[in-house]
Symmetry: C2
Subunit: 126 residues, 2 copies
């Protein structure tokens, strides 16, 4: 149960599936992979094993297969990854990140509304 260093992308793809499914066997994860992204069963197995070794997943035996389930909350993992990115990319400052997301990736009207709503909410809580 050694703690960690932010997950590499391949493992992230896999752990996200476990989060979505709640819990899953190797095969279930394999099958839940998006069509454009094929990974050998063994490869998925390896990633899940690594994720468990790193402490992100826990597993229990169920019949012949293992069922993996999250051990740390997604929000924590997301935070780790984002912290890294924000740091590396903008020296820790989030505003330029928003700036970039808004200007470069663009937002549609619905998204703008959602964002405003989040800000309102946030201010109301002050």
């Amino acid at each position: 149960m050694p703690k960690k260093s932010a997950l590499p992308k391949s493992e992230l793809e896999v752990v996200r599936i476990v989060w979505d499914l709640g819990e899953a066997t190797v095969r279930q994860v394999s099958e839940a992979l998006p069509a454009e992204r094929t990974l050998d069963f063994k490869t998925v197995q390896t990633y899940l094993r690594r994720l468990e070794a790193k402490g992100y997943l826990r597993s229990r035996q169920q019949g012949r297969a293992k069922v993996y389930v999250a051990r740390v909350r997604p929000v924590q993992v997301v935070r780790e990854v984002l912290d890294q990115v924000v740091d590396r990319l903008f020296g820790g400052d989030t505003v330029p990140l928003f700036q970039h997301l808004i200007h470069d990736r663009g937002l549609n009207d619905a998204e703008i509304q959602q964002l405003r709503a989040m800000l309102d909410e946030l201010e109301r809580q002050r």
Copy 2:
């Protein structure tokens, strides 16, 4: 001049300095590193060499030293990195990213104002 897969974090730290300085020699980059982050001169040299090989920087000889300068615009690199993250973390959807940034990292009042301003600006352009 091969294009390439998003930059690893160490190289990002280095290329950001070149962006900031406009152009720089190995030594200048070395010295511009934040105090908490020391890298051997040779290490910096290696990263700069790799960045050039990957096509992110260009260099010209100036006396005995090489001067490195950006070859792709920062915004493009940032985009590459962010696309990866948004994909890996949220399946390509940016709203959850904002959600996370706002709720988990928090924003101070000034930041909220800046964000609102950006949104206003964006809408005005519609």
